[in-house]
Amino acid sequence: MKILYCNCTYAKVVPLEVKKDVLRRLSDSGQAFDAVADLCDMSARKDPALNKIASGGCTKIAACYPRAVKWLFHAAGTPVPDEGIKVLNMREDSADNIVRELLT
């Protein structure tokens, strides 16, 4: 199972306290993960790294609305499979819930 954390660096749409709290607890957890500055930016660049994230088994993604994340991957030419990808929404959900979902 892979974990991807999106820092949403280039806009202030994800509450700062939520994303910092999630990152802090992920960082302290001893869990391996990939963290990207901004998934939107990667999608705009059709970054091949998205392909690696989208393929190869289960992935949990801490970012924003699942519909946005799904179509951002699709726009990059690397659609995510219907099964095995879980998107956690840091715009709406609490850091507690996100971290619990990420680490279990």
Partner: protein
């Protein structure tokens, strides 16, 4: 290099054999600083999965005693965190490798929800900046993300299917939140751009683009004309969140208001008609026939 070209430097925060484990605070600060400055960071842990290596350049950062093994064929650079600040190291390696440097753009561009899109092409017709195109399968596509005007969600207002997202927009459903029934109702009242532009959509669009550019550059010097137009458009701006620069090239507020009023009347008529059908059905059921 445009804003959407080039490879990113991947930073690997290494704490495995041949290095000293980082304090929790230092690890978090390093991660946070690198991400806030546009770098991508991987934290590998033995026996756990991360995204595999690709051909992007890699910087391995850590309290390194010796260099950990690198993937053959990959450009890998090593810097020890004891040498100084991680951001400085990442910037320096980014320069050396020619990796993409991008610290000041907001990735703002439309993303199409193809579960909803009907390929009607209204967005392509509407956008003056060549953001949209058509792929080999004649399917609408976003082809020039760079051209999109930051913070302008205008085309999403035009889409009759609520199929255009701007993930960095404030409000739903444009930000990717689920589309509710009332959103669809609202979209049904939107400006029908094809009617607005007349019959020959593409011809009209070409002329309009040319005129709009000319008009915008002339009006720039004539502050009075600009002010007048701004006044005229301020209501629309407030309602739709569209920047001035884009508004200057759109139909006037009057045009749009007139079209909206007509669309609303049409919708009300349609709703009244369907209400009548429902009433009839209800009556039928009441009588048990």
């Amino acid at each position: 290099m445009t804003r959407t070209e080039g490879k990113n430097l991947r930073v690997v925060l290494y704490e495995g054999p041949g290095s000293t484990r980082l304090e929790d605070d230092e690890r978090f600060q390093t991660l946070s600083t690198l991400l806030d400055n546009g770098f991508e960071v991987t934290r590998p842990v033995a026996g756990q999965e991360v995204a595999p290596a690709d051909d992007a350049p890699v910087l391995v950062l850590g309290l390194l005693d010796k260099h950990p093994p690198a993937t053959p064929g990959q450009e890998v650079h090593f810097r020890s965190l004891s040498d100084g600040d991680p951001l400085g190291a990442a910037r320096e390696v980014r320069e050396t490798t020619g990796a993409r440097k991008l610290e000041a753009w907001k990735p703002w561009f439309p993303v199409i929800d193809f579960d909803r899109c009907t390929n009607c092409m209204q967005c392509l017709t509407f956008c003056l900046f060549d953001v949209y195109g058509v792929d080999k399968q004649q399917q609408i596509t976003v082809q020039n993300e760079d051209n999109c005007k930051t913070d302008c969600p205008a085309c999403s207002r035009v889409c009759p299917e609520v199929a255009i997202l701007f993930p960095k927009y404030g409000k739903g459903p444009i930000n990717g939140d689920i589309v509710k029934e009332e959103d669809i109702q609202r979209e049904a009242m939107k400006v029908d751009i094809s009617t607005l532009l007349g019959g020959d959509l593409y011809g009209a669009l070409r002329t309009r683009q040319r005129d709009a550019r000319k008009r915008f550059s002339t009006e720039r010097d004539e502050s009075k004309a600009l002010l007048e137009r701004k006044r005229c458009l301020s209501k629309l701006k407030k309602d739709l969140d569209i920047p001035d620069e884009v508004l200057m090239t759109l139909p006037t507020a009057e045009d749009i208001e007139e079209r909206t009023a007509r669309a609303r009347a049409k919708l009300e008529k349609r709703q009244a008609k369907s209400q009548t059908v429902r009433d009839k059905q209800a009556t039928t059921t009441d009588w048990g026939i």
